[in-house]
């Protein structure tokens, strides 16, 4: 069943002296329960597309629908996990997780039961009453994931959520995410610039071009999970996607040099 439908989406940012076309002619159908990665170099519009689906920054052309309803504003049906965690520092771990449910006016007993369950699922029980400042980056991102799970959003939007973490913590959280994805049956739209991360996680990888952002390749990943990043088939796909991404990265680099020369 198709859950997210992106039709002819355009996004133009107007700046003082020129218009930047961040997205052009994006068409994308995402099925319920699918794990989709948006892959590309910086400036390819992958975060712009994610923000458009989230409703933070609406497209200047085209339509995005979720479960048949057009996206016009952010909402708890599309829970977002930010790269910079975005936990509320004045709330404890448990309060951060509970906040979204309180906003939805769920009954108190239900909230506290759910918080306990999520603390358990994300191995955060010992951190229940800590403030975010006392947690490592990996722990903070666990809390952010728990917060989104607490809202029961069918869709999870993730904007380079593990970008700031060290390699080991990152792999660890990727495994957790896959476990949660299976257990809770979420649809995940995940932005990354790591080719390996996208192959490790996704059912489908959308490779995007640099400015204007278009879809360069819609790649299904059929390698059975758990995937072994050292396996030949993994590396073959990695090389293939690497070539695609590098082409775009070179255009990005050339563009930056050109802009620097103008300045």
């Amino acid at each position: 069943m198709t859950q997210i439908v992106v039709t002819n989406v355009q996004k133009v940012f107007k700046t003082k002296d020129r218009d930047v076309v961040a997205l052009r002619d994006i068409n994308l159908d995402i099925t319920k329960g699918e794990f989709v990665c948006l892959l590309g170099p910086s400036g390819c519009g992958k975060s712009t597309l994610l923000n458009a689906v989230a409703g933070f920054s609406l497209p200047t052309g085209g339509v995005i629908t979720v479960d048949g309803k057009a996206v016009t504003e952010p909402g708890p049906d599309r829970g977002m996990v930010f790269q910079e965690y975005a936990l509320f520092p004045w709330m404890t771990v448990a309060q951060n997780i509970a906040f979204g449910m309180e906003v939805q006016h769920k009954p108190k007993g239900e909230i506290s039961a759910k918080v306990d369950q999520l603390l358990e699922v994300l191995k955060l029980k010992d951190f229940r009453d800590r403030f975010p400042k006392d947690l490592s980056g990996g722990m903070r991102q666990r809390v952010a994931i728990a917060r989104v799970l607490g809202m029961d959003s069918p869709i999870m939007l993730m904007d380079e959520p593990f970008g700031a973490l060290d390699a080991l913590t990152r792999r660890n959280l990727q495994d957790e995410l896959l476990r949660i994805w299976k257990e809770f049956g979420k649809t995940i739209l995940f932005v990354t610039h790591s080719i390996e991360e996208s192959i490790y996680l996704a059912d489908r990888i959308i490779v995007m071009t640099y400015r204007p952002g278009t879809i360069k390749r819609d790649q299904r990943v059929t390698i059975p999970r758990p995937r072994d990043p050292s396996a030949p088939e993994f590396n073959e796909l990695k090389r293939e996607l690497g070539l695609l991404v590098m082409e775009e990265q070179q255009r990005h680099a050339a563009d930056e040099l050109k802009l620097a020369a103008v300045d």
Partner: protein
């Protein structure tokens, strides 16, 4: 613990030497006791000022009431009362206005010019008007203190709301938060580090203003008492009063700082 004791003794050396020099110079008659009395004389006066004037009479009053019947206690309570009431009045007016001005550019544009014109006027400059409007006693004093507390809290609240990190607002909108909840549970707590810095400045200003206002418009309180002592040339009492003012100021600042630490226990950059 050992380090604490050591720090205590290190800290006490300079004040102790200063007091001993002062005492020695006073006893040697280097200056008249009216100009600068010996610290021992000040200490005695301070004790007399603090202690109850009359012996305890169980038929007249309870022991506790008698214990606190000294003139200094009465003055300190009077000053503290004015500071607290004036501060609350100032804060209760400044906080909502600051939140509105910080959150809405339109309200900011409407109110900011007036604020900028009034803000540089020192609260002390309102004294003549305060007496004209409110007469003598507590009302003019409370009015002046409220003005003294109002502007620091207002300015910091505006800055605090304006500096709320956009990522919190985005996360909140994603969670489906409505306007009122956004205001009370996101913007207000996010702005508290700024607001509390304003509170601390505000209470400091309030304490300065209370002493000045008592010298002019009120008939009790620590500020009134030291000015009254001057008329009798009681310099020992003046200094004893100043010392008490210092102690009360320290107590106020410690209390605000403790409140600060409690409310900001989540905050990363906490240093006290």
């Amino acid at each position: 613990m050992n380090a604490k004791i050591k720090a205590f003794f290190t800290g006490i050396i300079v004040p102790l030497v200063a007091v001993l020099l002062w005492e020695g110079a006073a006893r040697a008659g280097f200056f008249s006791p009216v100009v600068l009395p010996a610290p021992s004389a000040v200490a005695i006066k301070w004790w007399q000022y603090l202690a109850p004037a009359l012996p305890w009479d169980s038929t007249q009053q309870s022991w506790l009431a008698w214990l606190f019947s000294g003139e200094m206690i009465d003055d300190a309570i009077g000053s503290l009362y004015r500071v607290v009431v004036g501060f609350i009045v100032g804060a209760v007016l400044a906080l909502p206005l600051g939140l509105l001005m910080g959150a809405s550019t339109r309200i900011y544009a409407l109110c900011n010019p007036l604020v900028q014109v009034l803000r540089p006027i020192p609260p002390i400059a309102y004294i003549p008007l305060a007496i004209l409007w409110f007469g003598l006693g507590n009302p003019p004093s409370v009015f002046l203190i409220a003005i003294g507390a109002f502007f620091p809290i207002l300015m910091n609240t505006i800055a605090g709301v304006r500096h709320v990190d956009g990522i919190y607002l985005r996360a909140a909108r994603n969670l489906g938060v409505g306007q009122w909840t956004l205001f009370t549970r996101i913007m207000l707590p996010a702005a508290t580090p700024y607001i509390l810095a304003g509170v601390r400045i505000g209470i400091g200003t309030a304490f300065i203003v209370v002493i000045v206002s008592e010298m002019i418009a009120v008939n009790n309180g620590l500020g009134f008492r030291i000015l009254e002592a001057r008329e009798f040339m009681w310099s020992d009492k003046i200094i004893a009063g100043m010392f008490t003012i210092g102690l009360l100021g320290l107590a106020l600042d410690t209390a605000v700082s403790a409140l600060n630490n409690h409310l900001l226990r989540w905050h990363r950059g906490l240093e006290h």
